[in-house]
Symmetry: C2
Subunit: 348 residues, 2 copies
DNA sequence: TTGAAAGCGCTAACAG
DNA sequence: CTGTTAGCGCTTTCAA
């Protein structure tokens, strides 16, 4: 009454378990006839492979571990979706672990994934990870590691990120092309790389278009709705004739939007606005928010592809212990999403 | 140079693998002294358990399979987050599978989860599942199955859902309490149970408050922004003095909101509005949308608890093959979220 | 092309 | 309290 095993099938057909195993795995050394016979019998006996046993023996699980801060964050939910899609198509499944932005959980997660003998790990690093020892350990154990979005170059792992600099440049240039001339920027904490990158993109876009960079038009907030409101108020009070804002995140842009609306300022018209991140709410606010999309699903797909490459390299037995080649880094192009908040003229 | 096993530890200490295994698992029959010694040695030798081997032998993986339409949908991302949190606290990990609303993938998912010997499955059924054979098979294999949100009573599995009727009742009653007197409802396709439940909640709330139910004030849409706009237009054209709308979903409410805004109708004031679902955009639209929250995280937690109970029951060896007791069904209370769109007076 | 034998790393009876 | 033995179900040499 227990599950049928390859032994049962072998017994039924007066053959051996090893032959059954090979037949079921389409091993070339088995004749087409026996394969057919065995597969049919397997079906009849309602056989299902025990993946644990198979994995224990073969050393491969066809499971990859995913470590993200939280599936509750839209961005990560979308990335996971992207990974799972491609993974499935390649015969892999996904073991999910969430760090909740906690270093402690992250360490635990890596540990668990490793114990489960996942074939590889795709991770986005938690904000407050104290150190990277657990990730170094993954590398030491020769388990392919791929990072996305929240990456660390020091780890020497292949990674996929979006080009923040370019996204910011695109956003700013879009405002310029719309005809805005006094473009402000609400930035975030500069010690976080992506915020600094976006600031640079903004500055360079202005310079490239022969526009002046006015420090008074740059605010350093803490990326929240509140901070967006506050920064908008400050910018307005400067009275510099500001006519557009590029905000470092959609939430920041939203705060500014709310403030201007409260003050009865027309958008677009008096002030144009663009955000960053394409949050789920941004199409639905009034005016709908122009923004930069980070292509989360695409990011997940690319991350999985990098994992496959790492596997292939491992299988090929690249023995040189520590390859000197730089790990591959995929930099995705961000996508400009134009909505109402940034257009000068009424949209067609 | 390969991974250390319990054999290595045993050899190191001149003891046996079984003793090491027991010590590491805190088996009561091992003295505190040897436990300490063995654990220290394990640490020194950098030992990590091979969960595959352990699972193969013990028959337990401490992994539960989760089957959802897509982690890209905010609601499911939140549920998964809820499950993972409690699961982790109880020593379980999560194998995630997405059906993408496809029956085919759903079948494949169940198959894979079963092959991986997950200890249980928590699932939300895909929209277009042609039949439920795969879920019946799970039951036949005696693998604990818990359903949430998209459930099927016929399966006889414990489940957790939100009380749609009650949520609709609460939403409608809230509008009544605000002082609205001509309350319309935009519903969805009636063959889908939750939409019909919500309609009933609306109707009953009116009746209980001695208000007339006017069929002209009920629209049957297809739950989309477009359909919300369209229904709003129709309702307005009826000219029945409608002063509030309860919409079956936030997206529908949003569509109506957009239409009224376009028509220059004040909200709240001329028309009050409440939705259902607490979508991520609803706090941020103008006016911010009152709605009914479905408690996704809570739902995940309860689902996992049901799984634990099922495990306990299985362990206790409830032998009566087919227990006649009804499977437990947890019905969560929805939560009323009051925002700007529904209040009569300006909020304090 | 098939089969016999060994063993992946661990746990669980049972005996001592 | 500790050790011996057996085996979970599968894959994989190697020999036939």
């Amino acid at each position: 009454m227990s599950r049928t095993t390859i032994h049962d099938i072998a017994k039924e057909l007066n053959t051996s378990p090893s032959t059954v195993s090979k037949a079921l795995n389409d091993h070339p050394s088995i004749s087409a006839a026996t394969k057919k016979l065995i597969k049919e019998t397997a079906q009849n006996l309602n056989y299902r492979q025990n993946r644990l046993a198979s994995s224990l023996r073969s050393g491969r699980t066809n499971i990859i571990g995913i470590l993200i801060p939280s599936s509750d964050i839209g961005f990560f939910g979308a990335v996971v979706h992207g990974i799972e899609k491609v993974a499935r198509a390649n015969g892999y499944n996904i073991l999910l672990f969430q760090s909740n932005e906690t270093g402690e959980y992250e360490v635990e997660g890596v540990e668990t994934l490793l114990q489960t003998s996942v074939d590889g790990i795709i991770a986005s690093i938690a904000k407050d990870t104290p150190n990277l020892d657990h990730f170094y350990y993954v590398k030491k154990r020769k388990v392919p590691l791929v990072l996305f979005d929240r990456t660390k170059d020091e780890l020497g792992a292949p990674s996929v990120v979006v080009d923040d600099y370019k996204g910011a440049f695109m956003a700013t240039e879009h405002l310029i092309q719309q005809g805005y001339t006094q473009i402000a920027h609400i930035s975030g904490p500069q010690h976080i790389k992506i915020f600094n990158d976006r600031l640079c993109g903004y500055v360079d876009a202005l310079k490239m278009n022969n526009m002046e960079v006015d420090e008074d038009l740059i605010q350093y907030g803490r990326n929240s709705i509140e901070s967006g409101r506050f920064s908008a108020e400050r910018l307005l009070s400067r009275n510099k004739g500001m006519d557009a804002i590029f905000a470092v995140e959609d939430f920041t842009a939203l705060g500014a939007l709310q403030y201007f609306k409260q003050e009865g300022i027309k958008m677009p018209g008096e002030i144009g606005m663009i955000g960053f991140g394409n949050e789920s709410f941004s199409p639905y606010v009034t005016p709908s928010l122009s923004t930069i999309d980070q292509q989360p699903a695409r990011m997940g797909e690319e991350a999985f592809t990098l994992f496959l490459e790492a596997m292939a390299k491992k299988a090929a037995g690249t023995e040189e212990t520590e390859l000197v080649t730089e790990p591959k880094k995929i930099i995705l192009d961000p996508v400009l999403i134009v909505r109402e908040s940034s257009v000068m003229t009424v949209m067609a």
